[in-house]
Amino acid sequence: MPETAKILPFPTRRTSTEVSSAEAHRIARQYLSTPEENRSVEFFEETFSNCDVLFSVCQILRDMIESDPAASVTEASVLYRWSTNPTSEVGLFDEREYMLGETALIAAKGSRLLGKFTDAERWLDRSEAAFRHTVNPAPSLAGIAFERLALRFASGRFDETLELLPSLKSSFSKLGMTVEHFKAQFLEAVTLRALGRVDEHFALLRGLEEAPGVRDCPSLHGQVLVHIGNHEAVLGQFEAAARTYEKALPIVMRGNRPAALCELKWSIGNAYRGQGSLRRAIESYRVARNDYQTLGFRAFVAQLSLVIAEILLSLGKDREAEWEILSALPAIEEEKMVPEGFAAVALLRESVRHRKTDPAALRELRERLEASK
């Protein structure tokens, strides 16, 4: 290297990057499996000083968002904070911005799954601010746009979701992001259902089920099948629904998405409910809720509590129903799971306070939340 470059603190190549991708992955796993209290400053610095390892940590966190969103958010936040520190050496060129964008996006997805929508929005803003400064930001920004729509959907803003989806699908197509394009189509399908456009919803799901690209992606394929089964159950075609769920189970298992398995259990509960087997439905719902609780999916825990409350009310178990409702309301309000001023929440709270649960308010709130499942 010429003398001029040697004496200037211009970012230079570090020898620590010379590890194989397998080795980087191993170090990343070792880091993540080390309890936080055992991570010394030296261990922390040594791990993060290697950009290949940093990227591997991100890859692992991306893969574990659905199975452990709470841990993903915690670990991504640590990486994000470290990357914002100007004294931290983060790779070359635009890699600091890339790391900031990527860790913030992971934290946003995890926060959404945990039902922390306000946090998710803030993380998305951070991610976008960082990705804008990277080379070729288009794929990352399209990923953020998808996440924003998923958040809108989860907040019950279905019209807005549907309005903005075509532009996003077009971006994914242009960028050759096939799997993401299918995911956007799936989001479109569930939004159509939420808006009561069930025929279009089902047609889109059927199309997705047959797409080879979807079949190659077990996590998405399993989800599509579960929703097809749901539709069949709603139509009263319980045998068809059972067959579809049976077909979905091994695919969902292969997809390694515990959340999809919870969704399947929830759907089975719906099918029992549709058949009038209320006690079995409650059992399935409770199993699904416990699993969601373990995963930390606060929004779905709240939703299922309302579903269970509704059935308990219909069985004359008013006190048990009140407990279920009271356990769900804080999360619904704190995380703004329904638009501001949604009357059913206040009506429900008031009726429970007077120990005369309003079934209409309960149903309205449950339906509103379930639409964004």
């Binding site: 991306r62 070729n136 794929p139 990923g143």
Partner: protein, 131 residues
């Protein structure tokens, strides 16, 4: 001079081999951009090329990015940005003086400069196909 193989990584996998092949294929153009256009000397260019390779390998692994071949235009953008930042730094520190030609180049957006280079790349591909 190591320009034939700027960085050899341990235990290269097939994807890394693809990235390296694309990088090697573009290296001539990168070297011209760094030395002839941005005025870096040979040693500086070689060091930046090594950094560029490491960066490009990780860039190709980013989710949503297309194949290494399709990512080549971004390699040129990065090359021009690298070179521009480096030269601005060196000139700003008073270590090297500038001239009109370099000043004009440093004033231009690296993406625009890279686009011009991409055209050269297309021409190069055309010649390859023609051969």
């Amino acid at each position: 001079m190591e320009t034939d193989n700027p960085v050899t990584r341990v235990q290269e996998n097939p994807f890394e081999r693809d990235v390296r092949a694309i990088f090697q294929d573009t290296l001539g153009l990168i070297h011209i951009a760094l030395v002839s256009h941005y005025g870096l000397d040979e040693g500086e260019a070689m060091e930046l090329e090594k950094d560029l390779y490491i960066w490009f390998l990780r860039f190709c692994m980013r989710p949503g990015n297309s194949s290494p071949k399709d990512s080549r235009p971004f390699l040129l953008v990065a090359c021009c940005q690298f070179a521009r930042e480096y030269q601005k730094y060196v000139i700003g520190a008073g270590v090297r003086s500038s001239n009109d030609k370099l000043r004009k180049l440093l004033d231009r957006e690296p993406a625009d400069v890279a686009r011009d280079f991409s055209r050269s790349l297309e021409l190069l591909n055309y010649r390859h196909l023609d051969a």
